[in-house]
Symmetry: C2
Subunit: 199 residues, 2 copies
């Protein structure tokens, strides 16, 4: 099989994580999502909560001020150390064998890995708003505001560490609208690509 | 089946037209590409050659000056008449039954058609350069220059008549990298979506 590692980048509320988990089940390979946090914590020595808070879903204002201001004698911010640990963990996991990695700039970190299928999952604002209320419940902020905030965090995080524009068509092999196609069809399409021999 | 009409937008040299033709054969439905020119000529009364020259692959400099300067008493340019004829032809074809329409802003013209699957086919510059030399032969201009020129024409044409950014992820349900996946896999993926009932 040609594509041994699948990276899934996703807009918040698009079901990208669910697609990763379902796809992994179908293919019988591991899917790394929250599990990455634990591994990055181990690798970096930082606490799990800290790793989670400073990752791709970090509040962008405090994240940026930390990234630019709080630097050590080597000119490295805490985020830089985390980024290095994250890159190392992701590269090691990809080298171990077939797997799916959700988010965390894995598409960029593995950009030179020939057998990596880069996927982006998106959906309309309406469909995503519907989904986050169904999955995560109502909050004080409107679903639209929550979506825009979260997408912004991921976009800023991605662009800070990579040269790639988050969600730009040229950076992915497959982009699917999960709101239009449905989560199950997305899973089947990706499984088809993965299983296609010699393609 | 949910998606009765498939629009395929494509970067030059990505094999989008071939994918459309192969997909149509597989599904047993018509694919409109060059055939559109004939139909638009009939509808508008313009000569076929004129329709072809002023379409999405027109030279952008002369196309734009025509579009902005040569206007009749109603403020319409020749391109506007062509655009109206093209929109009418595409809407009529889509209303007649299942079909595939390649290029010509069909994605925008059919934006309110609920059962329309919007597809964009792309590939890296390297893969497309390789393909256009194989399919169309060598020319005086380098393949890279030919690709950039042609993409520019399509982008300008698309943006002149639509509010949509050509090739931007948010405007399509499926974006596939034909260079990475291969033309045959793209055809199979789209056939799968088309045949998926109730999805």
């Amino acid at each position: 099989m040609k594509h041994k590692v699948i990276t899934i980048s996703r807009e918040f509320g698009s079901g990208g994580r669910t697609i990763g988990k379902e796809l992994a089940k179908k293919l019988g390979i591991p899917c790394y999502d929250q599990e990455l946090i634990e591994k990055i914590a181990e690798e970096s020595g930082f606490a799990k909560e800290y790793v989670k808070d400073k990752g791709e879903d970090a509040l962008h204002s405090s994240w940026l001020s930390n990234a630019f201001i709080d630097r050590d004698a080597r000119g490295m911010s805490m985020q830089d150390y985390l980024w290095n640990a994250q890159s190392k963990v992701i590269r090691e996991l990809a080298a171990q064998g077939p797997c799916i990695i959700v988010g965390r700039c894995a598409d960029f970190i593995l950009r030179d890995t020939a057998n990596c299928l880069k996927v982006f999952i998106r959906a309309s604002l309406e469909k995503r708003a519907e989904r986050i209320v169904r999955v995560y419940g109502e909050r004080a902020d409107s679903p639209e505001k929550r979506l825009k905030d979260q997408d912004k965090r991921r976009r800023i995080y991605h662009q800070y560490y990579t040269d790639m524009e988050w969600g730009a068509a040229g950076n992915y092999h497959v982009i699917l609208d999960s709101g239009e196609l449905g989560v199950d069809v997305c899973v089947e399409l990706l499984a088809f690509i993965y299983n296609k021999k010699g393609s």
